[in-house]
Symmetry: C2
Subunit: 422 residues, 2 copies
Amino acid sequence: MNIISFPDRSQWSALLTRPVQETKDIEKRVFPILEQVRNEGDKALRELALKFDNVHLGEIAFSEEAISAAGDLLDEELKAAIGQAYKNIYKFHKGQLQAPEKIETMPGVTCWRKSVGIEKVGIYIPGGSAPLFSTVLMLGIPAQIAGCKEIILCTPSDHPAILYAAGLVGVTKAFRVGGAQAIAALAYGTESIPKVYKIFGPGNQYVTAAKMLVSSEGIAIDMPAGPSEVAVYADDTAVPAFVAADLLSQAEHGPDSQVLLVSTSKKLLSTVNLALPSQLERLPRKELAAQAIANSKAILLESEADAIDLLNQYAAEHLILSVANAEAVSEKIINAGSIFLGNYTPESCGDYASGTNHTLPTNGYARAYSGVSVDSFVKKITVQHISEEGIRILGPTVEAMAEAESLEAHRKAVSLRLKSLE
Amino acid sequence: MNIISFPDRSQWSALLTRPVQETKDIEKRVFPILEQVRNEGDKALRELALKFDNVHLGEIAFSEEAISAAGDLLDEELKAAIGQAYKNIYKFHKGQLQAPEKIETMPGVTCWRKSVGIEKVGIYIPGGSAPLFSTVLMLGIPAQIAGCKEIILCTPSDHPAILYAAGLVGVTKAFRVGGAQAIAALAYGTESIPKVYKIFGPGNQYVTAAKMLVSSEGIAIDMPAGPSEVAVYADDTAVPAFVAADLLSQAEHGPDSQVLLVSTSKKLLSTVNLALPSQLERLPRKELAAQAIANSKAILLESEADAIDLLNQYAAEHLILSVANAEAVSEKIINAGSIFLGNYTPESCGDYASGTNHTLPTNGYARAYSGVSVDSFVKKITVQHISEEGIRILGPTVEAMAEAESLEAHRKAVSLRLKSLE
């Protein structure tokens, strides 16, 4: 890693800048795909599968049998692991459901919010070398807890772990469709695939561009996406080999993965740097990881206060605090997707099975966005009831405000009622 | 109103379709404005104010004195009304703050979420004939409760009620800038105006287009916007004059306001229709309201079940349930922004002062979006701590899943730690 020692604050912004994703060209190529699916439905899905993936789509939907039998194709250890992850993620997310609380703001004026699951949601899971069944859990479990009536899965993968996870989370229908065309199918609907109101899930730059395009048309999406990233803040109580392993577990995602190490200890930075090559050498994805590590930065700072400021400015998707007073530091962190405390809390655990969600804001979006949670799958509808007593007390306030905003009919809707009670 | 009797379900979708907003042309006109502000900052703001509004911008910022003295320019009745609305809105939104709850998903594996206010938020309040000081309260109060450190207001209006409300909600800086250029200033920052992470507030189609454009660049916005709308479901227990007044209070927003009345009682529909003209006649905005009413629909249905289905399909921003069993019906509503129960709960009360928020999803977005709340102004950061005991119990699950997803470095980050504990 490149070690940068005591950079001036004026340099921080440049140091922390992420590579800009050029999206206009990709959007231009994705737009016709969206149009084709919108106009031609399933026929377009078949043509595009043949054109881009050389796949003859037979039945577009996975059968219920394929889903219910998927578990039989998994080895028992993996099946048990998925079951344990399911339990932990369910337990953590279940606590996010809020019961409505009625609040009487004035006598006779009662207001509350009720959470309702978004009726139809879509989950996209990419294909490729690694079957991301963990993401089926991370998106499906909060949808299940939220009470979404239709949970639609699109994935070009037929890996049994994906279908097994789909069964666990109660996916209502699953389709073997991938790429930007899957996003289009979920956004517009086809003869086979139901239109949904919100689309979740990771994907390559075409999928991401498709999600941004449909989102500008009013289909809700989970959040804008960028390359995955980790920042580690470590001191001399950190185990350098663990820090190196955490950096590499981010780096193996690909050459565009963002890896940042921050410390006030020069010794720690040096020993982590020493530990990296031998661990890297033994990785199957070592070429990918080596590129990400080559682009990564290790920043040496004067003080904990500097480190906290820099981390808040960066707004990492994942932030590992391997420092003696990790929890105290975490309380001063205002921008991050998910925080991991201490030597025995690797990001991997949150990625898979500790219970927290792994769909998190990248690219600095943690300044304004939260990771996926049950909140992402519900609407909170406000409800209010005003009694005769209530309108008598509240009414004059509303009349005065409506009049001042020159909205006379708003005022009259109250005045008429007050008059009827005289 | 046009009364449509017993439409077949196959016709509902056409009946409930909102007018399509053509945005591409507007976006083309807004894009250069955004670029100009991005490149030239305050200079662009001055040029654009002169060009579009014929305004010579002197000082761009409102002075602290202007804000603190604004209350002296208001009459006491209005000042008291704003104060009462502030109290009610504050009380309702305060209940939305969630305390972190630590959840032990397995022994030694502890996960929680902490809510942190978005550090910098921008509020836009349009100018025009009516000073929307109520929207300053609706956006500023949840920002204040969330603990946002910088609350930046842009508005072309210098109405004292707006500045007085800005002072109440703790706006940190306010600027006399309006239109698409104000959104650009908040998104990119200028010499005077700080860049923010999330932008809230209503506006004309230029402002809306600007918000959508900056949102596609990753600046968060409150939600996509469309014309305001109300649906009223009324039975023979409803007071026809009240229903007519509620329809008109929506209609006076403008000719594109969406007004829908649903009933299983032909008599109710007829009596509301009879009450409309005389109430309409007495409104100062009667031309605007008359156009909206001319485009509105009254739909007669067979049963309560039909009415509930139709209302859920429409997904109204505001839904008034003037029926005997209003609360029971509200429990079956899954798509709506805000629900008003009974004869004495006009939408006006929620617009101004009952306590609920008036920034709500229009255009059917209520299927996937919630109205503005304290949630809109916070990020929920997940935090986790795993003890040595915890990693021993959880570790093997993570190892099995990482291996199955071919993410070897993820597995090793756990294996290394487990080995160190042997």
